[in-house]
Symmetry: C2
Subunit: 129 residues, 2 copies
C-alpha cells in the first residue's frame, strides 16, 4: 500500500486553457489505467472555476474545504460547502468552482478516462448566475 | 446532477459481522452498477476498525477527519490523519480503523464490486501492533 501524506502532495497549476482564475491540481491517487479511478484534489481561489466540460462515466465531487458552486447546462446550480458531495451523471455538461468569497478544495472522483472539455470557459455572467 | 449535502447524509451502523467497535456508514455516491465507483463515508469511534478484507480493484481511502491506522498482511502499518490518502492495491488483504484516542472519518473509494471479507476480525494484539 502507499501512504499519500497530505503534506507530501505536490500541487501544480491547472492548465490555463481549461480554467479561469487560480486553480491547482494535487493528485492523490492517479489512475493506474486510463479508465481506472482517478482521485484528484483541486484547489480553487475565490472566483476561480473550471471551463465547461463533461465525463464519460460522470463525476463525484467531494468538498473537502471551503465553499463553491456547481452548475450544469440545464440551469441547475447549487452552492456547496465542506462535507458535501455532488454526483454528476455521465455526459452532463457542467462546471464547478469556488465561491466569490471563499477558496474551495474538492476531490474530483472519475473513472472512464480523461475529461472532455467543451472548448468554452465560464463567462463572468455565467459564473454570477 | 445530485447535491448530497453533508447534513442530509444518513449514517447507519456498519454490519457488526465485519467490524469491531462502533462504526457508521454514510453513503455519498452509491455505485450505479455493481462495478462502478462507490463513494462511501465511514465513521469510526476511537479503537474501532474493519475486519481483514480486500477489494478486487483495490481501494483509495481519503481521511476527511481525525486520525487512524491502515495496516496490511505484510506487516506494513501507517498512521494517517486528516487530508491523507492511502492507496491499497487490488487483492491486498488489509484493515483500517481509528486511532485509540481519536475518531476517524474516511471516504472509501472503490470500483469493481463489493468488499471481500476474509472471515476474521482484527484482534486487540493486531490492532495495537
Amino acid at each position: 500500500m502507499q501512504h499519500v501524506e497530505s503534506s507530501a502532495i505536490e500541487w501544480d497549476p491547472a492548465p490555463e486553457e481549461f480554467f479561469t482564475g487560480e486553480v491547482w491540481f494535487g493528485p492523490l491517487a492517479p489512475p493506474v489505467t486510463d479508465e481506472a479511478l482517478n482521485t484528484l484534489g483541486v484547489m480553487f481561489s475565490p472566483g476561480a472555476r473550471t471551463a465547461w466540460h463533461r465525463h464519460v462515466d460522470g463525476q463525484v465531487l467531494y468538498v473537502a474545504h471551503g465553499s463553491g458552486i456547481v452548475a450544469n447546462e440545464d440551469g441547475e446550480r447549487v452552492q456547496v460547502t465542506a462535507g458535501d458531495a455532488v454526483i454528476i451523471p455521465p455526459g452532463e455538461v457542467h462546471w464547478h468552482g469556488a465561491a466569490a468569497d471563499s477558496h474551495m478544495m474538492h476531490l474530483s472522483l472519475t473513472t472512464g478516462g480523461p475529461t472532455e472539455w467543451m472548448g468554452r470557459k465560464v463567462s463572468d455572467d455565467e459564473y454570477m448566475g
